[in-house]
Subunit: 308 residues, 2 copies
């Protein structure tokens, strides 16, 4: 295999936070990257951000064959021409995405993959924008996408799904496949379910925002970073594992589920959430909080590599 | 302050998995530990397990003034006499705990703290077992308790709550206080809410057990280990933080909440869960899975220490 076959060109369409992170990631791992955004200001912000993202990736591990330069393209056609995978990271607007997907489809190599980073929309929402919907997959990263390994995949063409999965693995991602198209994919459904109960506890005065976040990060969140929720109950079930858990504690879980809350984002709850995160932030700006988050993620990802 | 005032004796009542982990933790950090269980077999298993738990703790960091020996006591009175904190980790049975708490109260120093490790029960369930319920707090650890830092506290005596919190901080725990007594405390309510949606996705065929666990551990779980759920939405709200998030995405979160599922643990769902974790385990026994979990947690805890 030639180097080009191993690292085919990648087009990044949309140079917001998500697109820029994808560009840094593919370039770090030796892929030629072609970036395009209709807004010059977005292209400028991406150019300014890329060195920092690249340095963060280098702090975790060197990329094979990278870092490559990110080529800033003047037109969509220039970015898409010859790309094996086109990572679409445009705003979450169906008509806008439909128009963009049609434009991509008109110039792409017929066998290429269009991978949408969409978070709020689904494959079924976007497919009608293409003449051949099988060319589209959804490939949803988790923010910040260059650091968090998860990519959630859904598509209908098994050949493209396999090729996309192989490419994402080459850039250190952990791809996960949905069996059915679903709003929120997997991760945001889990996050939404957890946050609903977190907001309920704030609403009911059971615990304040900071206590809940601290409990999560030092308890279940920490454990879920090494062990999924199903597996955690398997280990909580004694020698019979999940079967033992369901026999002994399944009924109490069903009772617990019935006792979980359904909060409403009333003015009082909104105020409690806004005041609570302000206290938790302790004067740190959003940018400083992001820096702290990234530094902690990089330390964990380095530890994972060392742990093998 | 004398060494004894800094490290007062700790009684561990109940030598199951939880009690043994507490014993290892307090001893590692220099506290004199007195362990008692009515069953000789439990005491033998604890003695066999303690060196391994102690070695795991040493792999994270040396404990100040530790490790101390764990004194195995022949009677409850011997364990409790002179203890500043009595960590009760008996089976989750109200009449059994009431009887045990009464027996502890009869021999404890009047100003000491009884801290129940209870997971399924609440302070309100246990308080009636004591002549002076203010002596009791709930102090719920998250499994495995010697590795996961969270301890969830609830009690009615602010002096005892402060003293307990100080002691738990001395052994590297992150104490979090509930404002109201609640079944499941904070962490298990969050875990239960998340698992409900995870089981729903299995039930509906959206994703299989292994995909959900992989997504969690490489996406939201990883991020929640460094950043709580509220704070994650604060960072997802743009320059206005949580206020911006609630303005722009609050309504879509409420719609998402309404779309989350309520699964039932039917025979079909049970079979899917049991088969799914078996595939995910890939032949690894419960003991091997626990070893893998512990090794990964130790690597992350070392990384946290290095990250500061």
């Amino acid at each position: 295999m030639t180097a080009e076959a191993e690292h085919p060109p990648i087009a990044i369409v949309g140079a917001g936070l998500i697109g820029t992170a994808w560009a840094a990631l593919f370039a770090h791992h030796g892929f030629p990257v072609r970036l395009w955004d209709p807004q010059a200001a977005a292209m400028d912000r991406a150019a300014a951000a890329l060195p920092r993202l690249s340095a963060q990736l280098s702090a975790i591990a060197a990329g094979q064959g990278g870092p490559q330069d990110v080529v800033h393209c003047a037109t969509l056609a220039e970015a898409v021409a010859g790309a094996a995978l086109i990572q679409e990271s445009a705003p979450e607007d169906v008509p806008l995405k439909h128009a963009l997907l049609a434009e991509i489809e008109a110039t792409m190599a017929p066998e290429a993959i269009i991978a949408s980073s969409t978070s709020a929309l689904t494959w079924s929402d976007l497919g009608p924008g293409l003449a051949e919907p099988a060319r589209l997959i959804t490939a949803h990263p988790f923010n910040p996408p260059h650091l968090v390994p998860l990519v959630e995949l859904y598509g209908t063409d098994p050949v493209r799904m396999d090729r996309a999965e192989a490419i994402y693995r080459m850039v250190g991602r952990v791809p996960v496949r949905l069996r059915k198209d679903a709003t929120g994919h997997i991760a945001n459904r889990l996050a939404s379910a957890l946050w609903r109960e977190a907001v309920y506890m704030v609403q009911e005065g059971i615990a304040d925002v900071e206590a809940i976040d601290t409990a999560l990060a030092n308890g279940p969140g920490l454990r879920w970073s090494v062990l999924g929720a199903h597996m955690a109950y398997h280990l909580g079930g004694g020698p019979q594992g999940m079967a033992g858990y369901l026999d002994h504690l399944g009924p109490s879980q069903e009772r617990r589920w019935a006792s979980l809350g359904t909060p409403a984002l009333t003015p009082e709850v909104r105020a409690a959430l806004i005041d609570g995160v302000a206290r938790e932030a302790g004067g740190r700006s959003i940018a400083e909080l992001e820096q702290d988050r990234d530094a902690a993620l990089i330390a964990l990802l380095r530890a994972r590599k060392a742990d093998g």
